[in-house]
Symmetry: C2
Subunit: 363 residues, 2 copies
Amino acid sequence: MKSRIGIKDIALKAGVSKGTVDRVLHNRGNVSPGARAKVIAAMKELDYQPNIIASALASKKSWKIAVLIPDSQKDPFWEQPKIGILKAEKSLRDYKVVIDFYPFRDADREHFLQQGEEILEKEYHAVLISPSFFKEGQTILKKFEEQKLPYIQINTFLNRESEYFLAYIGQDSYTSGLLAAKLLNFGINEGACAMILHLEKEAYNAKHLTDKEKGFNDFFSHNKKRKIEIIRGSFGDIFDKNGLHKYIEEMLIEHPNIQGIFVTTSKAFHIVSILKELGKTDIKLVGFDLIEENLAPLYDDKIHFLINQNPQKQGFLGIMNAFNHLVLKKEIKHVQLLPLDVVMKENVQYYLEEKAKELHLVF
Amino acid sequence: MKSRIGIKDIALKAGVSKGTVDRVLHNRGNVSPGARAKVIAAMKELDYQPNIIASALASKKSWKIAVLIPDSQKDPFWEQPKIGILKAEKSLRDYKVVIDFYPFRDADREHFLQQGEEILEKEYHAVLISPSFFKEGQTILKKFEEQKLPYIQINTFLNRESEYFLAYIGQDSYTSGLLAAKLLNFGINEGACAMILHLEKEAYNAKHLTDKEKGFNDFFSHNKKRKIEIIRGSFGDIFDKNGLHKYIEEMLIEHPNIQGIFVTTSKAFHIVSILKELGKTDIKLVGFDLIEENLAPLYDDKIHFLINQNPQKQGFLGIMNAFNHLVLKKEIKHVQLLPLDVVMKENVQYYLEEKAKELHLVF
DNA sequence: AAATTGACTGTGCACGTACACAGAATTAGA
DNA sequence: TCTAATTCTGTGTACGTGCACAGTCAATTT
């Protein structure tokens, strides 16, 4: 039973000391070209695989990661990614991964920049960032690059050509629109209307919503076999109950043949009661996210499908990818789109369980 | 910057040596009640969390796990769980987890028992088993229990009351039947027929198929609002192309109003060409598993939904749970049902990617 | 009383790598 | 050629835990 080969085996084979092997391994310099070549040859020949356990134990340095995401106090969506981040931190504790949060107030560009500057002043090995604002995001990311600080984006994607841009992890909005269209198309009759409904302020300005809409439209324009008319709706102030009710009512009067509605945000539950009041209980409803308010209508067959994007995973995988890059020196994929789960009452349990489970992705 | 507390901190606090702390930690005995109490108190007070990194490094013992599953040469389904197992082994290599395979020839009860006995003769810390045969499975599991050998079941579940039964990880057949029914119901009109079709020898004898059927039937009997007639079909020899063609043809003549078919196995693709030949292109098709043959019809809108059970995960999570139990001494859930993913051409990419990705779940 | 047993306890090395430090070899400058 | 600076190399300790071993003390046996 020969045990795994370690640096001392390489040292022996290369005719040097383990100190020299270590210097080659970590590019610490001060190694003669000859010795270096011999070490590298020995490593290859013996197929050396570093023992990350011993490495983590011996290493003094801790890996510091800064997290720049919206404050979850203001926007409950961000609680989930944050939970994912904390889970990742916990499972990597023994690897000396330390995480500091720099939450910024939602929609506050100034605060976003401010917190970004704060990170730049400290010494971090990587940053996990949701660059919510286009212009300010570019500014900060550029500064990160200048300081040779690698970063991973989650949720919002700003495309940049830089070796310090490690990865984007997030949702695939366009495809989710396609998916919603497919589901509605499956459930409604030929000649009927399908409605896409944005319940969000400045929906025209939110890229993820316009992407969803594009996917939704593309599905129907590519499926010419069936004739389905598409209606577009948009209503910003969801707290204006009466206004929303009136808006939906007028829409349904104008287009009495609407058989399905795709709500592009997590607010589908707002529509449920309105449809009930209007006596339109046979309209198919597709929405997003397994939030509390959406679950009751799902169980109740009022919402037919919820598309789930597992926001916890965004945070979790973000940290895990940083770990893979920093500690394990692994190649990581630059764009990682999370699965779009089609959730209905019959399989919702699995996805809720997954939320609660303490699954820890490593390596 | 105070570092994490270790056994020597506890030793100091409890006024004993780290050797004694170690004995308490691992229940090695030979500790006086007084010392034991002091150590436990100190551990609680300081909230001691063992450093699994250092532990894994120092520990001499390797964790040996035997795997008793069907030979993947004979049944390609088992390739996926095997890949999952090998991934898990790779990512746990530094933790000294070693896996030995004991594949048995499909449908060969004698060989199954034989390989089981083989395992019993060696010294293993745990077994991962798919107890395909009811009677023989019980026999082997009983022997495992007698030898105090913990086991984890995958894919097939034999319920046993034993502390050595660690977990079952597998599919939820009943719910997958429900799910298929829901999807078909969504896509077909009131008054139409829905067909459930088993393409498997001795389908009446396969529990997972009868469970699927039960789920399928229950959905419609609980949803009395819509009148959908259910037809049951079963055909064993899928290599008899003509026979199958004839069978389907007769079914469709007898029940011309069939608008949807649920194939309870991964063989849905066999039906596609037959339906085409019969000119019945508007029948909705729901099947199982992202195997190669099913993908083309899925892209082609011939198969509408595939229910995916991620067979790789069965193997992967099986090993990971054994690891959690053996090494990390964590509580693991006794029954873990894998998510039922609803896959359509628009989101299939994510699930195929996941198959290829080297994601490693730990802890 | 001496010897033996057994329960209990402390000490110290090992795991494989990181890293500090000292010492050797080489080079540069005069 | 010699010295000083620089580059290169080997040695040894540390990380936190597991575990072997030796040692202490009281109870029991001879």
